[in-house]
Symmetry: C2
Subunit: 345 residues, 2 copies
DNA sequence: TTGTAAGCGTTATCAG
DNA sequence: CTGATAACGCTTACAA
């Protein structure tokens, strides 16, 4: 008497089940499944039939345990609530799926400690590679140690020199914005940001400075440690004696602070007070006046990051480290003082 | 002569390495690692020391392959660019991490076919459970088959009756909004949405209808297949003879269409044309006038979904299926006609 | 309390 | 071209 009644516990079928049904060996099934090299035509047919019949799906765990790759990549971002990272993650997932990989997502909320734990986790899961936007204040030295052996691409913020990275040309983008304000005749242009020490922001400030210096104008930096304080700082700057006539805010959050500050003071963006923001958020066309912004090439950034990562996964250290820098785009709307604007959204 | 020079290829340490160094058996190490039951004090110390020394990290693949759980949950959302889902995913990841699980993320872009493939993928990776916001037009019957055996929680949109779900009380939230407009004296209130057949929207429409019918007023539905067309429809409705004096848009995208339409027609939200939106997007306070909205309890929705999923994972079918419905919140700002408003952001 | 041994489902190796 | 066999790193009986 067999104890097991006919498939009462319908286990997931394994290669052996398929092999048995197709009356071949397990390794033949395996070979067939990964491209069908060295397997005769009629056997192929039998195996295919068995696979279909049983609804067989290979187990990625076993596959990963045995072979090198787990078909899994890790993505560690500061957040996903932010639409920039939200879009990136979506694009990355899509590109990874096209290459047969799943995405394990982590968000570190700008905390290096959390980030460390998440890297450790990805290592435990044997992720094939990692795309990382690192938390500010990360100890790059120990980070590099934690990551040895795992292919890595930095996105949005660079790591050390030998690490592949995909970045925005922040300085250049910044220059475009400031030069545009200049072209509208402004000479008192303020640059607004929190967390000025962070890579992206310090680069953008540098771009601002280059243009301001080149035009022989005086810098006006409005900075603060957090966005709440920034709002106050903007208010004070606009009330002061030598108030700026044009504002360049370095992130959507900074733009936010500016707009809240203006609202509170019953000021308004106008031809006398221009504003250009960073990050082309979806509500930019809805504001009054509609918001001119620097747009980041999100799709391209994500695609390049994934491409670079898979190159690294597949070809290892044979490739030179690469740093891809993509240009931003100035989307002209009304807040800069333009009459005619670029296409709506 | 040993061929292998002293750890030139520094393999990741395994339980056996730890066991050897601590001079105990592999299973003792394993036992120690999962809570230290049945392991004497001095052995504990030796093992702990060895683990520390080698920097040992258990391999989740092997662990999952052998035991039941993979410590992995799948999350399938329509998108993450949308701030609602972006926030959800972040919260879910956090809650899952607190329970020792990693999150595999997929976005199906409202495509049932893609969704199917992604579910299959999660099955191949043996995810312990799935949180799903299903694509409209999904064949629930075949979905249910694809998911048999995998603990599942529906979020934002329900599936079949026996599936656990965490949902917003859409009707109630909708009623709050419409009643609020009523309280401002409006009698011509329009309800605006695209994709009116989708669960969330049809529920919200139902809530709108209940209040309108209860007040003995006439319904005014402005609907379209997509948001581009919706924009036009809004424009026409406002130009028509019996134009509404108050608008209730059922999603942030719909609100978007409304605002773009108004901008284009040089109309403006005012005391004569009120607007309440759905989803408390971060820029709501920035609009002019600031936007009154229904806010969804994102943190709570996510937490409940994760909690429910883990209950299901741990206790299986012993628990009754549950449907948790959480209330929305009306955030009063200016666009509804209120003078005094709820706290800023 | 501890160690030995048998898998979990794949794939790589190697002899037929 | 094909099939047995040995890993991959861990856990869970079961025996000591």
């Amino acid at each position: 008497m067999k104890k097991q009644s006919p498939d009462l516990p319908p286990r997931r079928p394994t290669v052996l089940d398929v092999a048995q049904l197709a009356r071949v060996g397990a390794s033949t099934v395996s070979r067939y499944l990964r491209g069908g090299n060295n397997v005769s035509h009629d056997v192929s047919l039998r195996v295919a039939e068995a696979v279909r019949k049983l609804g067989y799906q290979p187990d990625e765990l076993a596959r990963g345990l045995r072979g090198g790759r787990t078909h899994t990549i890790g993505v560690i971002f500061p957040q996903t609530a932010n639409s920039f990272f939200g879009r990136c993650v979506q694009m990355i997932e899509q590109e990874a799926a096209a290459r047969g990989c799943a995405v394990i997502l982590h968000t570190h909320n700008e905390s290096p400690e959390l980030q460390s734990r998440q890297l450790a986790t990805l290592r435990r899961y044997r992720a094939d590679g990692v795309i990382l936007t690192c938390a500010p204040g990360s100890d790059l030295h120990s980070l590099q140690k934690e990551l040895t052996g795992i292919p890595l691409v930095a996105l949005d913020r660079p790591l050390w020199d030998e690490a592949d990275a995909v970045l925005l040309r922040n300085r250049e983008a910044s220059r475009m914005a400031v030069e545009h304000l200049l072209s509208h005749g402004h000479t008192a242009i303020a640059c607004i940001t929190a967390a000025a020490h962070m890579y992206t922001f310090s680069e953008r400030v540098a771009g601002y400075r280059e243009v301001i210096a080149g035009a022989g104008l005086r810098e006006h930096l409005i900075v603060a440690d957090n966005y709440e304080q920034l709002q106050g700082a903007v208010g004070r700057a606009l009330d002061g004696r030598d108030a700026p006539t044009a504002l360049f805010s370095l992130s959507n959050m900074a733009t936010f602070s500016v707009l809240l500050s203006l609202t509170k003071a019953h000021h308004k963006v106008s031809r006398e007070l221009a504003l250009i923001g960073f990050d082309d958020v979806d509500y930019a066309p809805l504001l009054n006046p509609s918001l001119t912004t620097i747009r980041q090439p999100i799709g391209n950034l994500s695609q390049q990051a994934v491409q670079l990562l898979f190159d690294r996964i597949l070809y290892g250290d044979k490739r030179q480290p690469e740093r891809i820098m993509l240009p931003g785009e100035l989307v002209r709307r009304h807040s800069c003082g333009c009459r005619r604007v670029d296409s709506g959204s």
